[in-house]
């Protein structure tokens, strides 16, 4: 079988997250599925096309996989009509993952921007499940506006824990929002962590990553301790089609998660 052949996989649930964002829950119990936080799958809509979607969660020990999708393209828009009992094609998991063990015994700082929280959610859940492996756990999350905050209930649950520092901010808000207003980078200087002993995971739009990395470096976190997730056009996910090339990297297999210092030579070069 060709490696790009997807497997039909039933949808157990579809949940609306934001006005243009939804999560589909897939039943993968029939085949068994293991993945690492930060990896992605290719989801196929019969005859329409295929898109790379990071795994945003799982339930019941990997029996059910969650993918959070923003309806912005030719495949993701028609995916909005999917409902319980429908099927999508699935192949994966692909790519590199958040190196949880790098942060063992250290402060773990997770900075997410917008939909960038989705690929970080499994990392956060993993860290909170094995909370004793880390010193401080800090989650900084920024979105465009209050109604574009993802997984808000869950974020509130994380915030309710005494052993975790969670700060949420939005770029723009009206009078009815009582949280922080301002960019996610503003949360970095306010967070409590030991810079020299911190591992940071950052995911969001590339500009958000740039500014956040700078803020982390300003606080004294070294580039070797910062991990970022990159986005490029991924079509085949197996390193064959060439679309996701980023310098010498195929983001689909060498990424999407990179240690920042390894990207540093090309990170600020335009149009690489």
């Amino acid at each position: 079988m060709h490696p790009v052949v997807p497997q039909p996989t039933p949808i157990t649930r579809v949940t609306k997250e934001l006005s243009d964002t939804f999560s589909i829950h897939l039943d993968v119990s029939a085949r068994g599925f293991s993945y690492r936080p930060g990896q992605f799958n290719m989801l196929y809509l019969f005859g329409v096309g295929e898109v790379p979607i990071s795994i945003s969660g799982d339930r019941e020990q990997g029996q059910e996989l969650v993918h959070t999708i923003r309806a912005v393209g030719g495949v993701t828009r028609p995916m909005r009509t999917l409902k319980t009992g429908d099927f999508v094609g699935l192949r994966g998991p692909y790519g590199t993952y958040w190196p949880m063990e790098e942060a063992h015994g250290k402060d773990l700082l997770i900075a997410a921007g917008g939909l960038g929280l989705a690929p970080l959610r499994p990392a956060i859940v993993h860290a909170l499940t094995h909370r004793d492996r880390y010193r401080r756990v800090i989650v900084l999350y920024g979105a465009r506006s209050p109604d574009e905050l993802l997984f808000l209930k869950e974020v509130e649950r994380w915030r309710g824990r005494m052993d975790t520092e969670v700060a949420v901010t939005v770029d723009h808000a009206g009078d009815d929002w009582f949280g922080h207003v301002g960019v996610v980078t503003a949360l970095v200087p306010r967070a409590t962590f030991e810079a020299k002993d911190t591992v940071a995971f950052v995911c969001g739009p590339e500009v958000m990553i740039r500014f956040t990395v700078r803020e982390l470096e300003r606080r004294g976190v070294s580039r070797e301790a910062i991990w970022v997730s990159m986005e490029r056009s991924m079509k085949c996910a197996i390193g064959h089609c060439g679309h996701c090339q980023y310098g010498s990297h195929f983001v689909c297999k060498d990424g999407p998660v990179y240690r920042f210092d390894r990207l540093a030579p090309i990170f600020h070069v335009r149009e690489v």
Partner: protein, 374 residues
């Protein structure tokens, strides 16, 4: 295939015997593909007999220039490389990777037998063979295996034709892929004159094949003639390019002003990528039958020269022509080393020949070696 090139692995054939060899291959059920004249160019296509080779025809190659011309002799292999490479045979321009029928359980794959064809390549060039090895590394010997490519590559018989002359855009000697084939063949031919061919045996299959036609061991004199011809071709390449340090050069010159200069000439037509024997970029297209009950996925040649190639939601990563040309060249000559352990260039010169404005990557590399801003 075992190492070739030993004295007793080199024989001499007449042209008649070579014609017999083609017939023997056909008798074994192979479709024979090799260089032939079609539509004013020498392309790789079906050969019925030795007569279908471009006998007495050569090709004049220069930047942005390709013309056929008669030769004074009746050489079989007195030409260089045309617009087609072997990529068309293995990483075919359009392949169906997956077909499925809609079912109550979502969909079911329509199983199809892998493409099966006994293919013999006859008279293919060393640079093109080197390119096949490079594509093998990408599509067969990486983490994933393209099964369509694998099926087409399987069991291919290869009769190479060494180059006894170099074309105006050739630089295989610089890239160490020619003018003599070193690996990846069953037999390799060196045409000495209209009736004398020296043949290096590269495999047991090749050895068995030549047993079926009249041949003699190659004499020292013939071997010396072959060596002189190949040396002459190597020292008369139309182009040269110093391959050393290209990986580092291209990794450190991303902001070199030369890229703007190239972009002012480049038309973004993608000819270089389509004629390149190692370019492997493809797109995947999903579609359904008109009634929506069947779906298929096609793999189609794509090019990093299109704006849409790098599109992520919101826009293309490389909207400027400068960035797209830079992507192609830095990948081909630079980052390919990081990815696959070799250069992605075999020195065939097609990208120079088929560039409508004659952009010559060997010249561009020379320019990039000059300090920025000069």
């Amino acid at each position: 295939m075992e190492p070739a090139g030993q004295r007793n692995d080199t024989i001499a054939l007449s042209r008649n015997a070579l014609a017999g060899l083609v017939n023997a291959i056909k008798l074994d059920g192979f479709a024979v593909f090799g260089p032939t004249v079609r539509d004013g160019a020498i392309v790789y296509d079906h050969l019925d007999s030795l007569e279908d080779l471009p006998i007495g025809v050569t090709d004049k190659l220069a930047p942005g220039h390709y013309r056929l011309a008669p030769r004074e002799d009746h050489a079989l292999f007195g030409h260089h490389v045309g617009p087609h490479s072997l990529r068309r045979e293995f990483l075919i321009p359009v392949a169906t990777l997956f077909r499925a029928r809609r079912t109550p359980q979502g969909f079911a794959q329509i199983e199809e037998p892998p493409p099966a064809r006994k293919l013999a390549l006859f008279g293919v060039r060393p640079c093109d063979l080197a390119a096949v090895a490079i594509q093998d590394r990408v599509l067969l010997n990486d983490a994933y295996r393209d099964t369509d490519y694998a099926a087409r590559r399987h069991g291919v018989l290869v009769i190479a034709a060494n180059c006894t002359q170099a074309g105006g855009t050739c630089f295989c000697a610089s890239m160490n892929t020619g003018p003599e084939a070193r690996a990846g063949f069953d037999l390799a031919l060196t045409e000495l004159d209209d009736d004398t061919i020296v043949c290096t045996i590269g495999s047991d299959v090749g050895r068995a094949l030549v047993q079926r036609v009249e041949h003699v061991p190659a004499s020292d004199q013939l071997l010396e003639r072959a060596r002189l011809l190949l040396n002459d071709a190597a020292t008369h390449m139309g182009r040269t390019m110093d391959p050393h340090g290209l990986r580092d050069l291209l990794a450190t010159t991303l902001e070199h002003p030369r890229w703007d200069d190239i972009a002012s000439r480049c038309l973004g037509c993608a000819n270089c990528t389509l004629s390149c024997p190692t370019c492997f970029c493809t797109s995947m297209e999903d579609m359904t039958s008109l009634d929506g009950t069947e779906a298929s996925r096609l793999r189609r040649w794509d090019s990093c020269f299109t704006v849409a190639f790098s599109y992520v939601h919101g826009g293309a990563v490389r909207p400027s022509l400068k960035a797209r040309y830079r992507q192609w060249l830095t990948h081909k000559l630079g980052s390919w080393h990081d990815q696959f352990g070799s250069s992605g260039c075999v020195g065939c010169g097609r990208c120079i020949t088929w560039c409508p404005v004659g952009i010559d990557l060997t010249e561009e590399i020379t320019a990039l070696r000059q300090p920025g801003g000069s």
